[in-house]
């Protein structure tokens, strides 16, 4: 042991370094747990193929629009929604590792933000196979490469926003079953939209619900980038819908984090 070794002592690293350290750990875990991302690659491809096979002829007879392009936002939403490190966070909580992290001088918010940064990296990566699938069947972006980048950014933002729900549940309950149950939120949000059938073709109560479902506007904005070109008002509606849901999900997540790390419990 040298004197200099002894003189090394801990200090607060700083917020960005904390976030980077937590995100780095989360990203290292992902290739070691491929089962956590494989479904997010295959499920969108499955639903895209099934819906295309079942409804493409019908869609073309009723309006003659490009159904292959129409379905891409649905497929990508399947890829990025619900993909988070929340199950790993539950494992940390149950195994006591979360306590070990809380014993360090790390800022509490970075314990969650670090995971979210890692999620964004994964979400962007998950957009790639869906886009490749779309290109393979002839889908092209009316807005070009820039539009495609905006498309991926909105998808990643949406995926990030949705992670707030499983993180909130993970931090509040520490239960893997409860985190898995979060996927239930996905069904009404996605199937009560114009994800597979154009809004104009919907009628009755379903049409009303679709109008009030914010995810409808997310899908509309993504679709506009592929099929309609630059439509600022449609894009803004989509982004506003995402931000609205994000305000709820992130409030819940950080409120749950505060409860979990509060040393009064």
């Amino acid at each position: 042991m040298t004197t200099s070794d002894v003189q090394i002592s801990g200090r607060q690293a700083g917020f960005l370094l904390d976030v980077r350290a937590v995100a780095g750990r989360a990203l290292r875990q992902i290739p070691r747990e491929p089962s956590s991302v494989i479904p997010a690659v295959f499920v969108p491809a499955f639903f895209y193929t099934v819906n295309l096979g079942a409804l493409e002829n019908l869609a073309q007879r009723s309006g003659g629009f490009n159904y292959k392009a129409f379905l891409i936002p649905m497929a990508i939403a399947f890829a990025v929604t619900g993909m988070s490190r929340a199950p790993a966070l539950v494992t940390d909580i149950q195994g006591g590792y979360f306590d070990r992290l809380c014993l360090t001088p790390v800022r509490r918010s970075s314990l969650l933000l670090g995971l979210m940064v890692a999620d964004v990296v994964v979400l962007i990566a998950l957009c790639i196979p869906v886009l490749v699938m779309g290109f393979a069947v002839g889908v092209r972006f009316e807005t070009g490469v820039v539009g495609m980048l905006v498309f991926v950014s909105i998808c990643a933002l949406w995926g990030l926003v949705f992670t707030g729900f499983p993180y909130a549940v993970a931090l509040k309950t520490g239960s893997p079953a409860a985190v898995n149950a979060c996927f239930i939120i996905f069904f009404p949000l996605f199937f009560l939209t114009d994800a597979v059938v154009p809004k104009g073709a919907l009628t009755g109560w379903f049409s009303h619900i679709v109008t009030y479902n914010p995810v409808t506007y997310l899908l509309g904005s993504l679709r506009s980038l592929i099929t309609a070109g630059w439509e600022p008002s449609i894009l803004l509606e989509g982004v506003a819908a995402v931000i609205g849901i994000g305000a709820v999900s992130m409030t819940l997540a950080f409120w749950a984090l505060r409860g979990r790390v509060s040393s009064g419990s």
Binding site: L17, A21, R25, Y97, D99, R100, L103, V106
Partner: protein, 326 residues
Amino acid sequence: MAAAQADSAAKEAAVLTSGLVRRYGPVTAVDGIDLAVRRGEIYGFLGPNGAGKSSVVRVLCTLLRPSEGRVCVAGFNVVEEPKEVRVRIGVALQEAALDDGQTGRELLALQGRLYGLDRSQIRARLNQVLALVDIGAAIDRRIGTYSGGMKRRLDLAAALVHNPQVLFLDEPTTGLDPISRASVWAEIRRLNVELGMTIFLTTQYLDEADALADRVGIIAKGRLVAEGPPDALKRSMGQDLIVAEVRGDDPTALTKLADLTGIDAVTQEGDQIIVSTSDGAAWLSPVALTLGTTSLAVCSLTLRTPTLDDVFMELTGSHMEEKVIR
């Protein structure tokens, strides 16, 4: 003036608690504990399961907020300045809190980054703590493949990466085999002697506290019932104990033994009669002869010095070791 003195005492002590209370709803787990652990000391915090040891440690480590009382660690108040406390303490909790998916090296490096160490500092500290805890080549294997003893040692290394001033070890040898246990004991001694590190050690093993601690605090039902160097606590019981294992029932036996001159105290616990005396060797024969005059059958007669379990028995009315399953 009194407040200034209290502040000065808090700065000088490694751990200082005053009237520490911790409640969980209606249950009071820690009931008014006053502790003063000096810097550079190994303090053994002893008590059976459920006595409140872990609650005290979690408060000292900033994981729990005290319900009442003032608590300072490494000179900082755990409620008002928790980050200052966290920078200065290392903690190995009761269950080794590790991430099975990382390698040992990754876990220690992450720990170093969270304590603000740069790359070269992390490398230097890893070399140092790995030499200390003897994990060998397994450091580059996933933690999920480690044995229980290796996990404990890695947990200890993680607690040491940032060179803490005060090290909290919550039952560090529970569940370890005798060899791993001896190795952890040696590491604790070395940290204290070589680095002057203050070590706050909770344990339910009396021999562990006896062997390692400069001073011992005994906690029962959330209260500190005794405190002092192990030898002093044992001496407070008398010099020697003569223990007779007996069968049968004779109410006169205790009276006859107590009437012997030179006998300090006589107690019975189940089948054991315990005679406390200042000179056990001299009084062994008279005790045997006296028992021979009763209707009791004497199975064995042992002369021994008092243990911390005897201290615990004296203070709480029950044995601690009976509650511990190794």
